[in-house]
Symmetry: C2
Subunit: 361 residues, 2 copies
DNA sequence: CTGAAAGCGCTAACAA
DNA sequence: TTGTTAGCGCTTTCAG
């Protein structure tokens, strides 16, 4: 009853069936090139012995494994669920298996993980990588790589149309009468964060709104709570968060402080993760075509793996759209500073001590 | 600039460095058994050539790949996030990589996926498999296997203490004065579902409560909504859902019908997924130690892979606990049938037409 | 249609 | 410390 009892090899089958191993091989890979009877017998014997082809050895000569790596920064982030799902289905349709590489929000860790995986897979999808551009290019030299959510020159990328999404969000806020927005920033190493902030500034300038940036914060609910604490020191009537998680965390924390969302502050997130419509109030968010991103990335990767010339120049850009739910509303004009805020915009100084307190950490 | 330019082999390096390939091999795997200078030179040359060991070929002789497969029924289900995270960290600490196998809620698909993976990995964690016990045992014959969330004889398993969790849930409901509960069932092939329902019946009997079962429903928010539609035809004051997703879906649907949760009906879920505390009202749920499950499963699997004798007899049972939040409350006694229900328990027939309507789909 | 033989890239065993 | 020689399990010529 020893667990791995030396699985039978092709030679075992060959011997048992009284044929050459090459015949067995053919019987499995190229049926039709083996007489019906022989094939029959081989399969029967193989079944009895419990023989299975070893994809490892099979992959050896050509060096392809029918596996692709999917590197993601934090598997706990719901943002990835649909992406993984899309990637997974595209991969399995093409007969590929996905190797998951959780890189734990760390460029270093990511490199290490990838170094191990790189040798094993036929290609790599870097979803939200935290590595430097040059590190990415290094990796891309070794294996076909597709970068998701980030534009890196000389490497094929799949991104969403952040500028457009941001624009829609800001327009929406402007229509609701908001004049000052706060951006709750995500990780510094995040390309999307930089992109969103930049677009935000530009759009705001164009629409003559005032924006400020707080952060960086971890792209999590907890990060959102921290962001809210800082935000409360100098609130604005509207906030745009790096992603839905941060938005949700902020809404919760703000609500706990006594603010009513969206009455007191409108909040917009990014990504439209599954939880976004489940929270209260349901989150207004810039939706990314998550599953499509996964599918597209894998599709393009596989094309390259199969020999297509990567068109690294222009990143593939997928559209995103604003989903208006209940976390945004018309701006209310305060006569006095909001009761829930740590300190008012107009600067009543009596709670300044608390301000520091809440803002720290 | 062709993408895969035939990565350099160990022989290329050997030639370029003017040594035997075995020396190169040693330089990489057993440093110290090679003179400092030689090693130095080899590594330099290797770096220049961009050489990397091919784990594939390396794995060939012994047949170990340092990969383990994690098979899950639906990657979109948040239930898995923490499990994957736990598994991932345990695996990477031990130098293993995780191969993800989304089996799409289908036993057949699962077998196929596994068949491919089985040959490539050193072991397999079956998280919530939908395969039959015998199919699982077959797989277990080929590779070390750990089954999560299910007890299968002769195969090592890691489960949570469902009976205890259910008991706590029912006790909680009983304390709140509820006398009739409805169980919203999950997939028929789910072991946990059977377990929960059985425990529910037993505990209810003991505590002299009345239970009934609706379903099966898909273990999703949509499934929960469907369940709610059926439930509304003959409501009870409390419901226990197969999992948090179903609970959340039911709460949403019920709320949409005009019911107030928990005032009109108390709802309990299972798993304590990340979203559970974010929804409104925050969900009372039987929490499973998700990350610990992943860690434990991988830990035990790796122990077996390394030669430990699997103790297949008694499943490892992890504790779970009831987390009381806001979706449960004291039972209210209705004088008449609730306004929101399709049909009343006492049977006012005037809305029977609607009943069918809501119940279909 | 089938068998023999030559590797795939690397490691292990044995010499030198 | 290094080189030489066998393979690992399978696929792929190349004969027969």
């Amino acid at each position: 009853m020893d667990q791995p009892p030396r699985p039978p090899t092709i030679d075992d089958v060959a011997k048992a069936a009284g044929v050459a191993s090459s015949t067995v091989s053919r019987a499995f890979s190229r049926p039709g090139r083996v007489s019906f009877e022989t094939s029959e017998r081989i399969h029967r014997v193989a079944a009895e012995l419990g023989y299975r082809t070893t994809s490892l050895a099979r992959a050896l000569p050509g060096g392809t494994t029918s596996m692709i790596a999917l590197a993601i920064s934090d598997i706990t982030n719901p943002f990835y669920y649909e992406i993984i799902r899309g990637a997974q289905s595209a991969a399995s349709e093409a007969g590929y298996t996905i190797l998951l590489a959780d890189t734990q929000e760390s460029g270093t860790h990511e490199r290490a993980t990838l170094d191990r995986a790189v040798a094993t897979v036929d290609g790599i999808v870097l979803a939200t990588t935290r590595m430097s551009d040059s590190a990415i290019r290094m990796t891309a030299k070794q294996r076909p790589v597709i970068v998701l959510n980030r534009a890196v020159s000389d490497v094929p990328c799949v991104i969403t149309d952040n500028p457009r999404g941001v624009r829609r969000a800001v327009e929406h806020l402007a229509e609701l009468g908001h004049q000052r927005l706060t951006y709750l920033a995500g990780p510094e190493a995040s390309w999307a964060d930089g992109m969103r902030w930049r677009s935000l500034r530009e759009t705001a300038m164009e629409l003559e709104l005032h924006v400020r940036r707080l952060g960086p914060f971890p792209p999590t609910v907890a990060g959102g709570a921290r962001a809210a604490a800082e935000f409360a020191a100098h609130p604005t009537s509207a906030v745009v968060a790096y992603n839905d998680l941060v938005a949700i965390g902020a809404i919760r924390a703000l609500t706990a402080m006594g603010a009513r969302i969206p009455r007191d502050v409108s909040v917009i997130g990014f990504d439209n993760i599954f939880t976004a419509e489940l929270v209260t109030p349901p989150l207004t968010t810039v939706a990314a075509p998550l599953a499509a991103m996964g599918r597209t990335a894998v599709g393009n990767l596989l094309a390259i793996v199969r020999g297509a010339r990567p068109r690294a120049q222009a990143p593939v850009t997928l559209p995103c759209r604003l989903i208006v739910r209940r976390s945004t509303a018309h701006r209310r004009r305060y006569r006095t500073s909001p009761a829930w805020a740590t300190t008012s915009v107009s600067g009543s100084a009596d709670s300044a001590g608390r301000s520091t307190d809440a803002g720290s950490r």
